[in-house]
Subunit: 449 residues, 2 copies
């Protein structure tokens, strides 16, 4: 997004390690990025962020001012000279944007000299973690809305500007219909939405004259915010203003932004219908998330579309994924030795470079198998090659294509994995060959430590 060079966006330890590797050894290694477990109530993740990863790796280089800064921090001149000419020279595989990801499945896999693998860690994690989080959150909200349109209203509550842009893009991937964020609309060519705030109503002598002014400028294809003073009176004012200005019983919508949405939406629907505004839609915003939308729809709320801000923009309830980036293999004596971390049972990782195989039956996803990278299994290989020897092989698809892919994928994922509360766990198996490698590595580690 921001074209600033982000080479220095890393954790300090990546550089201290890199200098150590530079002095001692810089073998070819595999690192993999994966999510250990899903947030509570989440049954799947939708991969997002790969396009930014491609751009980052393509542009990766340290600038003079970066190196000057590092020199002041005590790094060696020889090491800095090495960094100066450092570009990404390795291979990258990834699960494409818009595809499902489940726990322990590598989303990114890099094969590169150790130093490169190490210093991309922070950017990789930050990018995949956040965008995957938001794409998934958006899809959960749309699910709860039973397919009704949902717009990203999160710009003001997102965690920074960059976050707001990524939220708009990732929510669109995750089935939002668009965003209120104009900058995001411009950058990503997203549909943008919005009409008026309470302040608009407040600057006029009364609500009805505010609505009339608005309708004169914007016509009937607009949405009037009816809850500045009293929602039901506001609805009547909207109807009267439309009759007086438009002359027909035609108004695109009214928006409710406070109060009891079940009670008010039913009442507003009644008033609209009774007055012949049957086609006028009711938009709801304010404090919504997938659980509230589910609840109010179950209680019969008459809402046609939703604007969701805070809970979408920060993924409230699950504001980060339990993602990690681990060394899984090192080339030693000409062959790749699988590696793993074992200190804590919960954080134990699967060793070796892997592949994710996805199985379908009768048009539905039935299971994934995590196997060795070189294993030949019949499922679809989910990790596809993105870079080869530092060259980008992959052409990121358009957002529209990714969004369509998400919609197709959601149709293939059985309902029980999509429930917004207590979903079943999608079956992710580990291949026998991989399990065997794991046992061998464990034995070896126990000897060593």
């Amino acid at each position: 997004m921001f074209k600033r060079n982000l080479a220095l966006f890393l954790d300090f330890y990546e550089l201290t390690m890199a200098q150590s590797y530079f002095r001692k050894r810089n073998p070819i290694v595999f690192f993999e990025l994966f999510v250990r477990k899903l947030p509570q109530n989440w049954g799947y993740l939708i991969s997002a962020g790969l396009e930014d990863i491609c751009e980052y790796l393509l542009n990766f280089h340290f600038q003079k001012e970066d190196l000057d800064y590092l020199r002041k921090k005590g790094f060696d001149q020889k090491f800095l000279d090495y960094l100066k000419s450092l570009r990404f020279s390795g291979d990258l595989w990834a699960i494409e944007e818009g595809e499902f990801v489940f726990p322990n499945e590598p989303i990114l896999q890099i094969k590169a000299p150790l130093i490169e693998g190490q210093i991309f860690e922070t950017f990789f994690l930050n990018t995949i973690n956040f965008q995957t989080l938001i794409a998934t959150k958006a899809s959960r909200i749309v699910k709860s809305a039973q397919g009704r349109p949902m717009v990203d209203f999160g710009a003001r509550r997102a965690q920074g500007i960059d976050a707001s842009l990524k939220v708009a893009r990732a929510s669109y991937i995750g089935s939002a219909v668009g965003t209120s964020n104009v900058l995001a609309g411009k950058i990503y060519h997203l549909p943008i939405f919005g009409t008026m705030a309470h302040s608009f109503v407040q600057v006029f002598p009364d609500e009805k004259s505010a609505f009339k002014t608005w309708l004169k400028i914007w016509g009937k294809d607009t949405v009037l915010l009816v809850d500045t003073y009293d929602t039901l009176k506001g609805t009547k004012n909207a109807i009267e203003a439309t009759r007086e200005v438009i002359g027909k019983k035609e108004l695109k919508g009214v928006r409710l932004d406070s109060g009891d949405p079940v009670f008010l939406s039913k009442k507003v629907r009644e008033i609209l219908d009774k007055n012949g505004f049957k086609k006028t839609k009711i938009f709801l915003s304010s404090g919504l998330d997938e659980y509230k939308i589910d609840e109010i729809l179950k209680k019969g709320a008459k809402v046609d579309a939703f604007g969701v801000g805070t809970s979408l923009a920060v993924s409230d309830g699950a504001p980060a994924l339990d993602s990690c980036y681990k060394l899984v293999a090192i080339k030693e004596n000409g062959i790749f030795q699988p590696k793993m971390k074992i200190a804590e049972k919960e954080k134990e990782t699967l060793p070796g470079a892997k592949q994710v195989f996805r199985y379908e039956k009768d048009g539905k996803f039935v299971k994934d198998v995590i196997g060795l990278k070189k294993e030949k299994l019949s499922g679809k290989k989910m990790l596809v090659q993105i870079f080869k020897k530092g060259k980008l092989l992959y052409k990121p698809p358009s957002l529209e294509k990714i969004r369509k892919k998400v919609s197709q994928n959601l149709k293939k994922l059985p309902e029980k994995y999509q429930k917004i509360k207590n979903p079943s766990s999608f079956p992710v198996k580990v291949s026998e060959k991989l399990l065997k490698v794991k046992k061998e590595v464990l034995k070896l580690i126990k000897k060593k430590s």
Copy 2:
């Protein structure tokens, strides 16, 4: 931060309203930004973000490509010509960075033509909301650590790059000692920290040889990560490696990143002490927040410093503030008419341009009073003027000064408001004059609607 022009970073409705105002009326108004209520268990907020607000307003202008985009979205050429020459021309008051803020107190107050007041809304909210959130979260974590050093480890889990930078800056304001984020260190001149990851240990034939290599390069003033395989064996390996390479019982620290921190830190302390490494510090990271730190210290964990990532970077548990930005007065017939929103009791606002008065007694803060802007009360005026007629009057203080101010303020705030669980509510009164204005406005609104 990012020098990109952010004029288009706004919600679409701000522009549709602005075009309506452009055609109809553009009076001088007051808007105020405030937080309705604090997150659960939070007793105060520490204001942050003002420096970015200053930079934004100073640089605010629409570029040609912005206007081209808006033209395609259907805005009038006359309005676009107006936007082309639009610069901030108003006055701004703010509570300075590092000062406490309590519910309903204006943090920002702008007096400007309505269109300007409206189109800054999203940037103002996004900026103040997030940075205030993180500065406060950091101070809560340091509180739970009973003053032990705490480092921001959140770069990989922050919600985007921009977020990670703001997290580093705001946590430093909120009493963190520094960050692992190198780019943030460079930009904001923050102390940066970090040593090694598990992957470093894994690339060597065994743990001890990894430590020896490290010590040969970095010397004794370093921290060895001892939990890659087995924490207690790792500690012994660290001791042996130090003896062999350094030749003295001197090592800055060891870091634990998994397992039971109470049990392990006590055991590691024992092993270190028994072997004469009494001055070696124990650093703890992984899954910490203010509640966990409080809990493990109460259970006697022997930890000297903390690295906190996810929960700090996304303010887990409270990932957004309930902030809003409301029109509070309009100049009509030559005088300012106070305005408020009433649709829902909970969201009712205080009308009119206000001032926050803070009272001290015996070196402690005792209460705040929210009064009318022109009221003369004896408390310290917390809203200070930042811009006058579009000119910046204010010189943002250095980060070091803001951080020091926070430390002084925390000493003045009685303990009961600083508790990390169930703090008392700091008394925020509303002045009699302001209450009277509110009653009058309410009467007026009821007549109108």
